[in-house]
Protein backbone atom coordinates (compact mmCIF):
# COMPACT_ATOMS: atom_id res chain seq x y z
CA UNK A 1 0.00 0.00 0.00
CA UNK A 2 1.28 3.42 -0.92
CA UNK A 3 0.53 5.73 1.99
CA UNK A 4 1.90 8.89 0.42
CA UNK A 5 0.37 9.21 -2.98
CA UNK A 6 2.50 11.55 -5.00
CA UNK A 7 0.39 13.27 -7.64
CA UNK A 8 3.40 14.84 -9.27
CA UNK A 9 2.86 12.75 -12.37
CA UNK A 10 4.75 13.48 -15.54
CA UNK A 11 2.93 15.21 -18.38
CA UNK A 12 5.73 14.31 -20.74
CA UNK A 13 4.04 11.93 -23.18
CA UNK A 14 7.31 10.85 -24.73
CA UNK A 15 8.80 9.91 -21.33
CA UNK A 16 5.60 8.11 -20.31
CA UNK A 17 5.70 6.06 -23.49
CA UNK A 18 9.37 5.26 -23.13
CA UNK A 19 8.95 4.03 -19.56
CA UNK A 20 5.86 1.97 -20.33
CA UNK A 21 7.69 0.24 -23.16
CA UNK A 22 10.58 -0.48 -20.79
CA UNK A 23 8.23 -2.13 -18.28
CA UNK A 24 6.42 -4.16 -20.94
CA UNK A 25 9.76 -5.32 -22.26
CA UNK A 26 10.88 -6.34 -18.78
CA UNK A 27 7.65 -8.28 -18.19
CA UNK A 28 8.02 -10.03 -21.53
CA UNK A 29 11.58 -11.10 -20.75
CA UNK A 30 10.47 -12.64 -17.43
CA UNK A 31 7.48 -14.44 -18.95
CA UNK A 32 9.79 -15.91 -21.58
CA UNK A 33 12.46 -16.99 -19.10
CA UNK A 34 15.07 -14.71 -20.66
CA UNK A 35 16.77 -14.40 -17.31
CA UNK A 36 20.10 -13.06 -18.50
CA UNK A 37 18.51 -10.36 -20.67
CA UNK A 38 16.32 -9.44 -17.72
CA UNK A 39 19.26 -9.29 -15.33
CA UNK A 40 21.07 -7.04 -17.80
CA UNK A 41 18.33 -4.43 -17.28
CA UNK A 42 19.69 -3.80 -13.79
CA UNK A 43 22.30 -1.22 -12.89
CA UNK A 44 25.45 -2.80 -11.46
CA UNK A 45 24.34 -2.16 -7.88
CA UNK A 46 20.64 -2.72 -8.68
CA UNK A 47 18.45 -4.72 -6.33
CA UNK A 48 15.35 -6.80 -6.77
CA UNK A 49 13.27 -6.56 -3.59
CA UNK A 50 10.00 -8.15 -2.50
CA UNK A 51 9.22 -6.98 1.07
CA UNK A 52 7.70 -9.41 3.58
CA UNK A 53 5.17 -6.90 4.89
CA UNK A 54 3.20 -4.11 3.31
CA UNK A 55 4.84 -1.37 5.37
CA UNK A 56 8.45 -2.61 5.26
CA UNK A 57 10.71 0.44 5.26
CA UNK A 58 13.99 -1.11 4.26
CA UNK A 59 15.43 -4.48 3.31
CA UNK A 60 18.17 -4.50 5.94
CA UNK A 61 16.38 -4.66 9.29
CA UNK A 62 13.64 -7.08 8.39
CA UNK A 63 13.33 -10.30 6.43
CA UNK A 64 12.31 -10.00 2.76
CA UNK A 65 10.61 -12.50 0.45
CA UNK A 66 13.33 -11.63 -2.05
CA UNK A 67 16.24 -9.23 -1.60
CA UNK A 68 18.68 -9.95 -4.36
CA UNK A 69 21.72 -8.22 -5.71
CA UNK A 70 23.40 -9.20 -8.99
CA UNK A 71 25.10 -12.18 -7.36
CA UNK A 72 21.95 -13.70 -5.85
CA UNK A 73 19.97 -13.06 -9.05
CA UNK A 74 22.69 -14.85 -10.95
CA UNK A 75 22.38 -17.89 -8.68
CA UNK A 76 18.59 -17.95 -9.03
CA UNK A 77 18.81 -17.72 -12.82
CA UNK A 78 21.31 -20.53 -13.05
CA UNK A 79 19.32 -22.69 -10.67
CA UNK A 80 16.08 -22.24 -12.64
CA UNK A 81 17.81 -23.59 -15.74
CA UNK A 82 19.74 -26.38 -14.00
CA UNK A 83 18.80 -29.84 -15.25
CA UNK A 84 18.34 -31.04 -11.68
CA UNK A 85 16.15 -28.23 -10.40
CA UNK A 86 13.57 -30.75 -9.22
CA UNK A 87 10.85 -28.19 -8.68
CA UNK A 88 11.26 -26.95 -12.27
CA UNK A 89 10.54 -30.31 -13.91
CA UNK A 90 8.45 -29.27 -15.74
CA UNK A 91 9.20 -25.55 -15.57
CA UNK A 92 6.85 -22.92 -14.20
CA UNK A 93 5.05 -20.79 -16.78
CA UNK A 94 4.01 -17.23 -16.10
CA UNK A 95 2.00 -14.49 -17.78
CA UNK A 96 1.76 -11.00 -16.39
CA UNK A 97 -0.13 -7.87 -17.16
CA UNK A 98 0.86 -4.50 -15.84
CA UNK A 99 -0.91 -1.20 -16.06
CA UNK A 100 -1.75 1.99 -14.18
CA UNK A 101 1.75 3.19 -14.98
CA UNK A 102 2.54 6.44 -13.19
CA UNK A 103 5.88 8.08 -13.83
CA UNK A 104 6.87 10.46 -11.08
CA UNK A 105 8.66 13.39 -12.59
CA UNK A 106 11.41 14.60 -10.33
CA UNK A 107 13.81 17.47 -10.86
CA UNK A 108 16.48 15.16 -12.13
CA UNK A 109 16.11 14.21 -15.77
CA UNK A 110 18.23 11.10 -15.43
CA UNK A 111 16.18 9.20 -12.87
CA UNK A 112 12.51 8.38 -12.39
CA UNK A 113 10.34 6.49 -9.95
CA UNK A 114 7.63 4.46 -11.64
CA UNK A 115 4.53 2.98 -10.02
CA UNK A 116 2.50 0.30 -11.71
CA UNK A 117 0.00 -2.41 -10.83
CA UNK A 118 0.42 -6.00 -11.94
CA UNK A 119 -1.41 -9.28 -12.17
CA UNK A 120 0.66 -12.43 -12.54
CA UNK A 121 -0.64 -15.89 -13.35
CA UNK A 122 1.66 -18.81 -12.65
CA UNK A 123 1.24 -22.46 -13.53
CA UNK A 124 3.25 -25.61 -13.32
CA UNK A 125 1.98 -29.02 -14.34
CA UNK A 126 0.73 -30.90 -11.31
CA UNK A 127 0.14 -27.78 -9.24
CA UNK A 128 -2.95 -25.62 -9.36
CA UNK A 129 -2.95 -22.27 -11.16
CA UNK A 130 -1.68 -19.50 -8.89
CA UNK A 131 -2.40 -15.80 -9.05
CA UNK A 132 -0.29 -12.98 -7.64
CA UNK A 133 -1.16 -9.31 -7.59
CA UNK A 134 0.30 -6.10 -6.33
CA UNK A 135 2.29 -3.05 -7.24
CA UNK A 136 5.69 -2.56 -8.78
CA UNK A 137 7.86 0.40 -7.87
CA UNK A 138 10.80 0.83 -10.23
CA UNK A 139 13.64 3.22 -9.54
CA UNK A 140 15.19 3.76 -12.94
CA UNK A 141 18.33 5.60 -13.96
CA UNK A 142 19.35 6.74 -17.42
CA UNK A 143 22.27 4.81 -18.85
CA UNK A 144 23.62 4.19 -22.32
CA UNK A 145 20.72 6.01 -23.94
CA UNK A 146 18.19 3.80 -22.20
CA UNK A 147 17.18 2.97 -18.63
CA UNK A 148 18.59 0.71 -15.95
CA UNK A 149 16.87 -0.58 -12.82
CA UNK A 150 18.40 0.68 -9.60
CA UNK A 151 15.70 -1.03 -7.57
CA UNK A 152 12.63 -3.02 -8.46
CA UNK A 153 10.31 -3.25 -5.47
CA UNK A 154 7.36 -5.63 -5.64
CA UNK A 155 4.58 -5.02 -3.14
CA UNK A 156 2.59 -8.25 -3.13
CA UNK A 157 -0.89 -7.69 -1.71
CA UNK A 158 -0.42 -10.93 0.23
CA UNK A 159 3.21 -10.37 1.20
CA UNK A 160 2.67 -11.59 4.77
CA UNK A 161 0.52 -14.59 3.83
CA UNK A 162 1.41 -18.24 4.18
CA UNK A 163 3.28 -18.93 0.94
CA UNK A 164 4.11 -21.86 -1.22
CA UNK A 165 7.72 -21.67 -2.35
CA UNK A 166 8.30 -18.68 -4.64
CA UNK A 167 10.88 -19.51 -7.28
CA UNK A 168 10.29 -17.24 -10.25
CA UNK A 169 11.13 -13.53 -10.23
CA UNK A 170 7.81 -11.73 -9.76
Amino acid sequence: MDKTINIDQTDNGQLQHEIEQFLYHEARLLDNRKWQDWNDLFAEDGHYWVPSTEDQENPLDQVSLFYENAVLRDVRMRRLEHQHAWSQLPPTRTARILGNVIVESGDAQDQVKVHSTFHLTEWRKGVELKVFGGAYVHDLVRADGGWKIRQKRVNLINSDAVHDPLEIFI
Binding site: V50, S52, T53, Q56, L60, D61, Q62, V63, S64, L65, F66, Y67, A70, V71, L72, D74, V75, R76, M77, R78, R79, H82, H84, A85, W86, S87, Q88, A161, V162, H163, D164, P165, L166, E167
Partner: protein
Protein backbone atom coordinates in the same frame (compact mmCIF):
# COMPACT_ATOMS: atom_id res chain seq x y z
CA UNK B 1 -6.47 -50.77 5.57
CA UNK B 2 -3.72 -53.15 6.53
CA UNK B 3 -3.32 -51.90 10.07
CA UNK B 4 -6.18 -50.74 12.20
CA UNK B 5 -5.66 -47.42 13.88
CA UNK B 6 -6.43 -49.02 17.21
CA UNK B 7 -2.90 -50.46 17.12
CA UNK B 8 -0.74 -47.62 15.80
CA UNK B 9 2.36 -48.94 17.56
CA UNK B 10 2.40 -51.88 15.14
CA UNK B 11 3.08 -49.40 12.31
CA UNK B 12 6.54 -48.66 13.65
CA UNK B 13 9.25 -51.31 13.77
CA UNK B 14 12.77 -50.64 14.92
CA UNK B 15 14.16 -49.95 11.42
CA UNK B 16 11.11 -49.23 9.26
CA UNK B 17 7.70 -47.57 9.44
CA UNK B 18 4.48 -48.30 7.61
CA UNK B 19 3.70 -45.61 5.04
CA UNK B 20 0.20 -45.11 6.44
CA UNK B 21 1.69 -43.07 9.30
CA UNK B 22 2.21 -40.34 6.68
CA UNK B 23 -0.97 -40.79 4.64
CA UNK B 24 -3.83 -41.93 6.87
CA UNK B 25 -5.89 -39.03 8.19
CA UNK B 26 -7.27 -41.14 11.05
CA UNK B 27 -3.70 -41.58 12.25
CA UNK B 28 -3.18 -37.83 11.93
CA UNK B 29 -6.22 -37.25 14.17
CA UNK B 30 -4.84 -39.73 16.66
CA UNK B 31 -1.45 -37.96 16.61
CA UNK B 32 -3.17 -34.69 17.49
CA UNK B 33 -4.69 -36.44 20.53
CA UNK B 34 -1.85 -38.64 21.67
CA UNK B 35 1.24 -36.63 20.72
CA UNK B 36 0.19 -33.00 20.53
CA UNK B 37 -1.90 -33.18 23.69
CA UNK B 38 0.86 -34.93 25.65
CA UNK B 39 4.18 -33.48 24.49
CA UNK B 40 5.49 -30.01 25.35
CA UNK B 41 4.77 -27.84 22.30
CA UNK B 42 6.76 -24.69 21.52
CA UNK B 43 4.38 -21.73 21.71
CA UNK B 44 6.46 -18.58 21.44
CA UNK B 45 9.26 -16.50 22.86
CA UNK B 46 8.96 -14.12 25.80
CA UNK B 47 10.26 -11.25 23.65
CA UNK B 48 7.09 -11.46 21.51
CA UNK B 49 4.94 -10.37 24.46
CA UNK B 50 6.91 -7.75 26.35
CA UNK B 51 4.24 -5.54 27.95
CA UNK B 52 1.09 -6.20 29.97
CA UNK B 53 -1.72 -7.14 27.60
CA UNK B 54 0.61 -8.13 24.72
CA UNK B 55 -0.66 -11.34 23.16
CA UNK B 56 0.19 -13.68 20.33
CA UNK B 57 -1.92 -16.48 18.87
CA UNK B 58 -0.45 -19.91 18.25
CA UNK B 59 -1.70 -23.28 17.06
CA UNK B 60 -1.05 -26.14 19.48
CA UNK B 61 -2.05 -29.40 17.86
CA UNK B 62 -5.58 -28.59 16.74
CA UNK B 63 -6.16 -25.92 19.37
CA UNK B 64 -6.03 -22.17 18.75
CA UNK B 65 -4.14 -20.79 21.75
CA UNK B 66 -3.53 -17.26 23.03
CA UNK B 67 -0.34 -16.42 24.90
CA UNK B 68 -0.63 -13.22 26.94
CA UNK B 69 1.41 -11.33 29.52
CA UNK B 70 -0.47 -10.00 32.55
CA UNK B 71 0.16 -6.86 34.60
CA UNK B 72 2.39 -8.75 37.02
CA UNK B 73 4.57 -9.93 34.13
CA UNK B 74 3.31 -13.50 34.28
CA UNK B 75 2.50 -15.31 31.02
CA UNK B 76 -0.75 -17.23 30.55
CA UNK B 77 -2.04 -19.54 27.83
CA UNK B 78 -5.63 -20.43 27.07
CA UNK B 79 -7.83 -21.48 24.18
CA UNK B 80 -8.87 -18.63 21.86
CA UNK B 81 -12.56 -19.32 22.29
CA UNK B 82 -15.29 -17.40 24.06
CA UNK B 83 -17.07 -19.71 26.55
CA UNK B 84 -20.38 -18.14 25.50
CA UNK B 85 -20.92 -18.79 21.77
CA UNK B 86 -17.48 -20.08 20.88
CA UNK B 87 -16.26 -17.08 18.90
CA UNK B 88 -12.52 -16.61 18.69
CA UNK B 89 -11.80 -13.73 21.04
CA UNK B 90 -8.91 -12.31 19.01
CA UNK B 91 -7.96 -12.69 15.35
CA UNK B 92 -4.83 -14.55 14.30
CA UNK B 93 -1.61 -12.67 14.95
CA UNK B 94 -0.33 -10.47 17.73
CA UNK B 95 -1.36 -7.24 19.44
CA UNK B 96 -2.18 -5.66 22.77
CA UNK B 97 -5.56 -6.35 24.32
CA UNK B 98 -5.40 -3.59 26.95
CA UNK B 99 -6.49 -4.45 30.50
CA UNK B 100 -9.05 -7.07 29.40
CA UNK B 101 -9.99 -9.35 26.52
CA UNK B 102 -13.40 -8.47 25.15
CA UNK B 103 -15.37 -10.82 22.94
CA UNK B 104 -16.53 -8.86 19.87
CA UNK B 105 -19.84 -10.76 19.71
CA UNK B 106 -21.64 -10.06 23.04
CA UNK B 107 -18.97 -8.10 24.93
CA UNK B 108 -18.15 -10.67 27.58
CA UNK B 109 -14.83 -9.63 29.06
CA UNK B 110 -11.97 -11.71 30.44
CA UNK B 111 -8.90 -11.05 32.56
CA UNK B 112 -5.39 -11.79 31.34
CA UNK B 113 -5.56 -15.20 33.01
CA UNK B 114 -8.61 -16.06 30.88
CA UNK B 115 -11.11 -15.90 33.74
CA UNK B 116 -14.45 -14.18 33.27
CA UNK B 117 -14.48 -10.51 34.21
CA UNK B 118 -17.88 -9.24 33.21
CA UNK B 119 -21.06 -10.05 31.31
CA UNK B 120 -23.59 -7.48 30.01
CA UNK B 121 -27.13 -8.07 31.29
CA UNK B 122 -25.65 -9.82 34.29
CA UNK B 123 -29.03 -9.82 36.10
CA UNK B 124 -30.28 -12.19 33.39
CA UNK B 125 -28.07 -14.87 34.89
CA UNK B 126 -29.64 -14.63 38.34
CA UNK B 127 -31.95 -17.44 39.34
CA UNK B 128 -31.22 -19.52 36.24
CA UNK B 129 -29.09 -22.09 38.01
CA UNK B 130 -25.59 -21.21 36.78
CA UNK B 131 -22.41 -20.24 38.58
CA UNK B 132 -20.57 -17.60 36.56
CA UNK B 133 -17.42 -18.35 38.57
CA UNK B 134 -17.25 -21.91 37.30
CA UNK B 135 -14.68 -22.89 34.69
CA UNK B 136 -17.28 -23.27 31.96
CA UNK B 137 -17.68 -19.49 31.93
CA UNK B 138 -13.97 -18.79 31.55
CA UNK B 139 -11.77 -19.22 28.52
CA UNK B 140 -10.54 -22.83 28.58
CA UNK B 141 -7.07 -22.81 30.04
CA UNK B 142 -4.04 -24.70 28.77
CA UNK B 143 -2.99 -27.25 31.39
CA UNK B 144 0.67 -26.26 31.72
CA UNK B 145 3.03 -23.52 30.60
CA UNK B 146 6.76 -23.38 31.23
CA UNK B 147 9.58 -21.33 29.84
CA UNK B 148 13.21 -22.27 29.32
CA UNK B 149 15.55 -19.28 28.86
CA UNK B 150 12.71 -17.30 27.28
CA UNK B 151 11.40 -20.09 25.05
CA UNK B 152 7.79 -20.79 26.07
CA UNK B 153 6.35 -24.27 25.79
CA UNK B 154 2.81 -25.36 26.64
CA UNK B 155 1.34 -28.74 27.43
CA UNK B 156 -2.35 -29.57 26.97
CA UNK B 157 -2.07 -32.37 29.52
CA UNK B 158 -1.87 -31.78 33.29
CA UNK B 159 0.24 -34.89 33.82
CA UNK B 160 3.56 -36.12 32.48
CA UNK B 161 7.16 -34.90 32.74
CA UNK B 162 7.92 -31.24 33.34
CA UNK B 163 9.58 -29.18 30.60
CA UNK B 164 13.10 -29.70 31.90
CA UNK B 165 12.72 -33.46 31.98
CA UNK B 166 11.02 -33.45 28.56
CA UNK B 167 13.88 -31.50 26.94
CA UNK B 168 16.64 -33.42 28.68
CA UNK B 169 20.01 -33.08 26.97
CA UNK B 170 18.65 -31.05 24.05
CA UNK B 171 18.54 -28.09 26.44
CA UNK B 172 22.18 -27.71 25.45
CA UNK B 173 21.03 -26.36 22.06
CA UNK B 174 18.77 -23.73 23.65
CA UNK B 175 21.61 -22.88 26.04
CA UNK B 176 24.07 -22.41 23.20
CA UNK B 177 21.49 -20.36 21.26
CA UNK B 178 21.33 -17.91 24.21
CA UNK B 179 24.95 -18.15 25.37
CA UNK B 180 26.08 -16.86 21.98
CA UNK B 181 24.71 -13.47 23.02
CA UNK B 182 27.08 -11.37 25.16
CA UNK B 183 24.04 -10.75 27.38
CA UNK B 184 23.00 -14.41 27.35
CA UNK B 185 19.68 -13.40 25.85
CA UNK B 186 17.95 -13.52 22.48
CA UNK B 187 14.87 -11.82 21.09
CA UNK B 188 12.55 -12.42 18.15
CA UNK B 189 13.05 -9.70 15.53
CA UNK B 190 12.86 -8.92 11.85
CA UNK B 191 9.52 -10.52 10.99
CA UNK B 192 8.44 -14.04 10.19
CA UNK B 193 8.06 -16.25 7.13
CA UNK B 194 5.32 -18.84 6.77
CA UNK B 195 5.48 -21.65 4.23
CA UNK B 196 2.92 -24.38 3.57
CA UNK B 197 4.36 -27.77 2.78
CA UNK B 198 2.11 -30.21 0.90
CA UNK B 199 3.29 -33.11 2.98
CA UNK B 200 3.05 -34.75 6.37
CA UNK B 201 4.76 -33.03 9.30
CA UNK B 202 6.99 -36.03 10.04
CA UNK B 203 8.59 -35.85 6.59
CA UNK B 204 9.96 -32.41 7.45
CA UNK B 205 11.26 -33.53 10.85
CA UNK B 206 13.07 -36.44 9.27
CA UNK B 207 14.65 -34.18 6.67
CA UNK B 208 16.06 -31.81 9.29
CA UNK B 209 18.77 -34.28 10.30
CA UNK B 210 18.98 -36.16 6.99
CA UNK B 211 22.55 -35.58 5.87
CA UNK B 212 22.22 -37.92 2.89
CA UNK B 213 19.66 -35.74 1.09
CA UNK B 214 21.72 -32.54 0.89
CA UNK B 215 23.88 -33.38 -2.10
CA UNK B 216 21.27 -34.94 -4.44
CA UNK B 217 18.31 -32.76 -3.44
CA UNK B 218 20.13 -29.44 -3.49
CA UNK B 219 22.25 -30.00 -6.57
CA UNK B 220 20.52 -27.24 -8.55
CA UNK B 221 21.24 -24.54 -5.97
CA UNK B 222 24.75 -25.54 -4.90
CA UNK B 223 25.82 -26.07 -8.51
CA UNK B 224 24.34 -22.69 -9.47
CA UNK B 225 26.12 -20.96 -6.58
CA UNK B 226 29.42 -22.59 -7.53
CA UNK B 227 29.01 -21.47 -11.14
CA UNK B 228 28.35 -17.93 -9.98
CA UNK B 229 31.47 -18.02 -7.79
CA UNK B 230 33.56 -19.28 -10.68
CA UNK B 231 32.19 -17.07 -13.44
CA UNK B 232 31.33 -13.85 -11.62
CA UNK B 233 33.37 -13.70 -8.44
CA UNK B 234 36.84 -14.92 -9.39
CA UNK B 235 36.48 -17.96 -7.18
CA UNK B 236 35.66 -16.02 -4.01
CA UNK B 237 32.63 -17.27 -2.08
CA UNK B 238 30.71 -14.63 -0.12
CA UNK B 239 28.71 -15.66 2.97
CA UNK B 240 25.37 -15.65 1.13
CA UNK B 241 26.68 -18.17 -1.39
CA UNK B 242 28.62 -20.26 1.12
CA UNK B 243 25.32 -21.12 2.83
CA UNK B 244 23.96 -22.33 -0.52
CA UNK B 245 26.97 -24.16 -1.92
CA UNK B 246 27.82 -25.98 1.35
CA UNK B 247 25.18 -28.59 0.49
CA UNK B 248 27.50 -29.79 -2.25
CA UNK B 249 30.14 -31.10 0.15
CA UNK B 250 31.41 -34.60 -0.75
CA UNK B 251 30.20 -37.83 0.87
CA UNK B 252 33.19 -37.93 3.21
CA UNK B 253 32.08 -34.62 4.73
CA UNK B 254 28.56 -35.85 5.52
CA UNK B 255 29.92 -39.12 6.88
CA UNK B 256 32.12 -37.19 9.30
CA UNK B 257 29.29 -35.12 10.82
CA UNK B 258 28.07 -35.91 14.31
CA UNK B 259 24.45 -36.92 14.87
CA UNK B 260 23.37 -36.99 18.49
CA UNK B 261 19.98 -38.02 19.81
CA UNK B 262 18.21 -37.86 23.15
CA UNK B 263 15.02 -39.29 24.61
CA UNK B 264 11.64 -38.06 23.34
CA UNK B 265 12.79 -37.82 19.71
CA UNK B 266 15.17 -34.86 20.12
CA UNK B 267 18.45 -34.71 18.21
CA UNK B 268 20.91 -32.47 16.40
CA UNK B 269 23.45 -32.68 13.60
CA UNK B 270 26.87 -31.07 13.36
CA UNK B 271 27.38 -27.79 11.50
CA UNK B 272 27.66 -27.49 7.73
CA UNK B 273 28.37 -23.77 7.39
CA UNK B 274 31.01 -21.72 9.16
CA UNK B 275 30.64 -18.05 10.02
CA UNK B 276 33.21 -15.99 8.11
CA UNK B 277 36.12 -14.83 10.29
CA UNK B 278 35.81 -11.19 9.22
CA UNK B 279 35.68 -7.87 11.08
CA UNK B 280 32.05 -8.39 12.11
CA UNK B 281 33.01 -11.70 13.66
CA UNK B 282 36.14 -10.28 15.30
CA UNK B 283 34.13 -7.52 16.99
CA UNK B 284 31.61 -10.10 18.14
CA UNK B 285 34.30 -12.43 19.45
CA UNK B 286 35.88 -9.57 21.42
CA UNK B 287 32.52 -8.87 23.01
CA UNK B 288 32.18 -12.51 24.07
CA UNK B 289 35.77 -12.57 25.36
CA UNK B 290 35.08 -9.49 27.50
CA UNK B 291 31.95 -10.94 29.02
CA UNK B 292 32.80 -14.62 29.35
CA UNK B 293 36.60 -14.72 29.22
CA UNK B 294 38.45 -16.18 26.24
CA UNK B 295 38.24 -19.78 27.35
CA UNK B 296 34.49 -19.78 27.90
CA UNK B 297 33.88 -17.76 24.72
CA UNK B 298 35.87 -20.30 22.72
CA UNK B 299 33.89 -23.09 24.33
CA UNK B 300 30.56 -21.44 23.39
CA UNK B 301 31.61 -20.95 19.79
CA UNK B 302 33.02 -24.46 19.54
CA UNK B 303 29.50 -25.84 19.91
CA UNK B 304 28.56 -25.71 16.24
CA UNK B 305 25.31 -27.34 15.30
CA UNK B 306 23.19 -27.36 12.19
CA UNK B 307 19.52 -28.25 12.77
CA UNK B 308 18.43 -29.18 16.27
CA UNK B 309 15.16 -31.08 16.57
CA UNK B 310 12.90 -30.51 19.55
CA UNK B 311 10.30 -33.12 18.75
CA UNK B 312 7.49 -32.60 17.74
CA UNK B 313 7.21 -28.82 17.45
CA UNK B 314 10.35 -26.88 16.56
CA UNK B 315 13.87 -26.79 15.20
CA UNK B 316 16.40 -24.16 16.25
CA UNK B 317 19.49 -23.37 14.21
CA UNK B 318 21.65 -22.17 17.05
CA UNK B 319 24.67 -20.77 15.23
CA UNK B 320 22.66 -18.59 12.82
CA UNK B 321 19.79 -17.71 15.19
CA UNK B 322 16.90 -19.30 13.36
CA UNK B 323 13.87 -21.12 14.71
CA UNK B 324 11.56 -23.19 12.55
CA UNK B 325 8.22 -23.95 14.15
CA UNK B 326 6.29 -26.90 12.75
CA UNK B 327 2.47 -26.82 12.85
CA UNK B 328 0.74 -29.89 11.42
CA UNK B 329 -2.46 -28.77 9.64
CA UNK B 330 -3.72 -32.04 8.17
CA UNK B 331 -2.27 -35.39 7.15
CA UNK B 332 -0.76 -33.80 4.00
CA UNK B 333 -0.35 -30.15 4.95
CA UNK B 334 2.28 -28.70 7.29
CA UNK B 335 2.71 -25.07 8.14
CA UNK B 336 6.27 -24.07 8.93
CA UNK B 337 6.99 -20.70 10.56
CA UNK B 338 10.49 -19.24 10.37
CA UNK B 339 11.53 -16.89 13.15
CA UNK B 340 14.77 -14.95 13.31
CA UNK B 341 16.37 -14.06 16.64
CA UNK B 342 18.73 -11.23 17.49
CA UNK B 343 21.54 -11.97 19.90
CA UNK B 344 21.11 -9.15 22.41
CA UNK B 345 24.12 -6.89 22.68
CA UNK B 346 25.55 -7.60 19.23
CA UNK B 347 26.26 -5.18 16.37
CA UNK B 348 24.03 -4.09 13.52
CA UNK B 349 26.36 -5.82 11.07
CA UNK B 350 26.02 -9.07 13.00
CA UNK B 351 22.22 -8.73 12.86
CA UNK B 352 22.27 -8.05 9.12
CA UNK B 353 24.24 -11.26 8.57
CA UNK B 354 21.63 -13.18 10.55
CA UNK B 355 18.91 -11.72 8.32
CA UNK B 356 20.90 -12.65 5.22
CA UNK B 357 20.89 -16.23 6.43
CA UNK B 358 17.11 -16.09 6.93
CA UNK B 359 16.51 -14.58 3.48
CA UNK B 360 18.73 -17.05 1.66
CA UNK B 361 17.85 -20.24 3.52
CA UNK B 362 14.41 -19.77 5.07
CA UNK B 363 12.51 -17.38 2.79
CA UNK B 364 9.68 -18.87 0.74
CA UNK B 365 11.85 -17.80 -2.21
CA UNK B 366 14.92 -19.72 -0.99
CA UNK B 367 16.70 -21.41 -3.88
CA UNK B 368 17.64 -24.12 -1.39
CA UNK B 369 14.33 -24.84 0.34
CA UNK B 370 12.29 -25.07 -2.86
CA UNK B 371 13.73 -28.43 -3.89
CA UNK B 372 13.18 -29.82 -0.38
CA UNK B 373 9.52 -28.81 -0.39
CA UNK B 374 9.03 -30.25 -3.87
CA UNK B 375 10.49 -33.58 -2.78
CA UNK B 376 8.41 -33.74 0.41
CA UNK B 377 5.31 -33.41 -1.78
CA UNK B 378 6.60 -36.12 -4.11
CA UNK B 379 7.02 -38.45 -1.12
CA UNK B 380 3.51 -37.64 0.07
CA UNK B 381 2.04 -38.39 -3.37
CA UNK B 382 4.25 -41.38 -4.05
CA UNK B 383 3.35 -43.09 -0.78
CA UNK B 384 -0.28 -43.24 -1.89
CA UNK B 385 0.74 -45.72 -4.57
CA UNK B 386 0.39 -49.45 -3.91
CA UNK B 387 3.39 -51.59 -3.03
CA UNK B 388 6.51 -51.12 -0.91
CA UNK B 389 4.35 -50.43 2.10
CA UNK B 390 7.22 -50.00 4.54
CA UNK B 391 9.58 -47.02 4.57
CA UNK B 392 13.15 -48.07 5.27
CA UNK B 393 15.20 -46.46 8.03
CA UNK B 394 17.90 -49.10 8.03
CA UNK B 395 20.99 -47.06 7.20
CA UNK B 396 23.63 -47.67 9.91
CA UNK B 397 20.94 -49.19 12.16
CA UNK B 398 22.34 -50.48 15.41
CA UNK B 399 25.68 -48.67 15.11
CA UNK B 400 24.86 -45.76 17.38
CA UNK B 401 26.79 -45.54 20.66
CA UNK B 402 25.44 -44.72 24.11
CA UNK B 403 27.10 -41.67 25.67
CA UNK B 404 25.58 -40.62 28.97
CA UNK B 405 22.02 -39.47 28.33
CA UNK B 406 22.52 -39.45 24.55
CA UNK B 407 23.26 -41.70 21.64
CA UNK B 408 25.76 -40.75 18.94
CA UNK B 409 25.72 -41.88 15.35
CA UNK B 410 27.94 -41.18 12.37
CA UNK B 411 26.86 -38.65 9.79
CA UNK B 412 25.03 -40.85 7.32
CA UNK B 413 23.03 -42.81 9.88
CA UNK B 414 19.24 -42.69 9.80
CA UNK B 415 19.38 -42.77 13.58
CA UNK B 416 17.59 -39.40 14.06
CA UNK B 417 14.56 -40.79 12.18
CA UNK B 418 14.54 -43.99 14.18
CA UNK B 419 14.86 -41.86 17.31
CA UNK B 420 11.82 -39.78 16.31
CA UNK B 421 9.73 -42.85 15.65
CA UNK B 422 10.76 -44.43 18.92
CA UNK B 423 9.20 -41.40 20.62
CA UNK B 424 6.24 -41.47 18.21
CA UNK B 425 5.55 -45.09 19.07
CA UNK B 426 5.70 -44.44 22.80
CA UNK B 427 3.28 -41.50 22.55
CA UNK B 428 0.89 -43.36 20.26
CA UNK B 429 0.93 -46.68 22.14
CA UNK B 430 -1.41 -45.73 24.98
Amino acid sequence: MLHEVHDPASLVESNRVHKSVYTNSAIFDLEMERIFRKAWIYAGHESQIRKAGDYVTVRVGKEPVILVRDRGGEIHAFINRCPHKGAKIVGEGCGNTGPLFRCPYHAWTFKHDGSLNGIPHRHGYQGVGVDLKSAEFSMPSVARLESYRGFIFVNLSATGPDLSEFLGGIKSSIDNFCDRSPEGKVEVAGGVFRVMQRSNWKIFFENLNDTAHAQPTHESSYAAARQTVKKKLDGKTPFELHIIEGNGEPNSFWESLELRGYDNGHSYMGAIFKAPQDDTFKTYKEQLDDVYGVERADEILSINRHNTIIYPSCSPHTSFQQLRVIRPISVDRTLVEFYTFRLKGTSKEFWHRTLTYTNVVNSPSSTVMVDDVDLYARCQEGMLAAGNDWISQHRRAGFEQEEGDSRVADGISEFPMRNQFKAWKAYMAD
